[in-house]
Amino acid sequence: METTEALALPKTHYLNAEYGIRSWLLTTDHKRIAILYLISITLFFAVGATFAGVIRLELLTPAGDLVSDDTYNKMFTMHGIVMIFLFLIPSIPAVFGNFFVPMMIGARDLAFPKINLLSWYVYVVGAIFTLVAITAGGVDTGWTFYTPFSTQASNSNVLTAAIGVFIAGFSSILTGLNFIVTIHRMRAPGMTWMKMPLFLWSIYATALINVLGTPVLAITLLLVAVERAFHLGIFNPAYGGDPVLFQHLFWFYSHPAVYIMILPSMGVVSELIAAFTRHSVFGYKAVAFSSLAIAVLGFLVWGHHMFVAGISVYSAMIFSVLSFLVAIPSAIKVFNWTATLYKGSVSLDAPMLYALGFIGLFTVGGLTGLFLASLGVDVQVHDTYFVIAHFHYIMVGGALMGYLGAIHYWWPKMTGRLYNEIWAKLAALTVFLGFNLTFFPQFILGYLGMPRRYHAYPPEFQALNVLSTAGATVLGIGYLMPLIYLLLSLKYGRVAGPNPWKATGLEWQTPSPPPTFNFDRTPIVTKPPYSYEQQEADLA
């Protein structure tokens, strides 16, 4: 069975099938579009991280001395807008979903290749509007665009930024639509729903949220833009309008948006856990359906963002109970991953380090979410650093760790080359340590009562803030490291071969990098996903 073929890159693959800038900008190949997205979201990650750097530097000292209060407002607003709408929401679906959804189901492309390309252009146009808003003086409303401040009082570029986010939203609608239709209609013969890799289940659940939630954000931002431009009164209390209605509409999308960010990472973790324990995921069906359960429950809990905004105590109680329910499918996933670890033979390659990091950090983020879902505790810690720490454990400790795990796992498939494993492991450790050093002190700060969105604070909070800023520095180094060694691997990396991790899954059955049409012949699927036990038996 073992053959000693010399490893070489395939002669033609999707990267060298055509040359020239036109062959990239007009491509309809899902793999090339994924690369376009990878480059663009990396750029915006750098932009968003720069704003975070300014925030952490300002908070090094209690006095508001580095930037003015006004600039500080703009910094955290633009950090939020860029990181959420231009990095986290597209991240895993637009890069790895685009690249691997067709490959994992054995298709030659997504259902609508031209719409796929269109979605990237729509993203770029939205991003340009946002960049214009940033460079023309910034936005100071917070990423949430709360009215009536955003529609009446703020004299920053709210209109441009809202239009930018509005446009970028259509990009994620189009991507989600494409995934739903592709997964329904393009599966290879034998690829039944129950044979799909768990990554596809989570991408499918994410796409449902994209399609059902994003239009509501779009109409909400449109109302804000129209109200601001024409001085209408839809959300303005002076005219009898209701700012809380804005919050309802906004969070109807923006709470599920948290699951747009975390669900794809959960799918990645399922793939990684299986590949690096050489064991099928324990409780496959439970993990698959828990993704759908999160998508559905995610639409029923938006009110927990408004416990102190003046909603009735009864609706607050209902939203509180519903929010607790989200813990159930989340816990199903964590317990099943842990059970898989217990049964499997674990190898600690770099992608696996990120997956393990995800499980730990997501658990902390999820459990502190329960604190916030409890009405009494929420009143105490509302709008403090406790909230900041909680959602960064989910979005950075969870979503971003999953993203980094995905890029380390699939990089050899996408580029055909292996990165330096030692540096990769070091980077994973640096990110994990830096992350916890940055954000754990913020739980304590919030518990002690430090409010969010202030550029100055009482001196007794300084020690913890210094720790947090130090952690952010370590975290920044941890993010720079992969950028360097991954780029170096393009030139100096060893050739990976089709399946460096000996993973199951259709994406590993084709050369690395894959040919333009992915498969020479349409595969017929006969085995369940993650048939590692059988693979081990075959190899023995």
Binding site: L7, I219, L232, G240, I524, V525
Partner: protein
Amino acid sequence: MPDVASPQEPPTSHVSQTPHVPGEPHLMHHFDDMEQQRETATLGMWVFLVTEVLFFGGLFAAYMIYRVWYPTTFGVASRQLNIYSGAGMTVVLITSSLTMAMAVHAAAQGLRRRIMGFLGLTLFLGIVFVALKGMEYYHEYLEHHIPGHGFQIVGADPNHAQIFFSLYFIMTGLHALHMFIGFGLLLTMMYMAWRNYFSAKWHTPVEVAGLYWHFVDIIWIFLFPLLYLVDRHR
């Protein structure tokens, strides 16, 4: 980390298949057959229409909340609208749905000239609808019902009435925008029919455009009673 990748027994068996099927000029490279391509396009439009429901849904939610809060003002403001024009527009639009359905039916039979005729009729009715809407807008401009500094209304709280008219213009305006997108689709379909793209075997674009057109009609079927009829019983 595993050092050298060893090609393993693939866990799947393979069947030979060529990306291009002779005799199917409309089959795109990534589909296996025409049936799959047609079902994919149709499902794509249905999913898109779901996003549209949510898009307008946010507006309907806002409208209903304010209507519950300010029923008297919304009633007075609603009665300012021209019910005859609104009813006429509804008739025109429902008729256009009929002609659209006839166009899809003609496409299924591969009758090229009938496709073009019915699409043209649909387009004409759509234009009549938008023209009537434009006349209503002009009338509302004359009556000072445009929200803003010059806004006037008799017998109701002008602030709350402005909310009604803001939502009225946004909802009907977005609906009209969808009509214009529909005009673009109809013109494209007419051009494609004229160039003889369609046959009884392949006419998916006409079907998909039809789905869109009917959807825009249905939105109006909800807008008309909400905006025009909601307080006529008094």
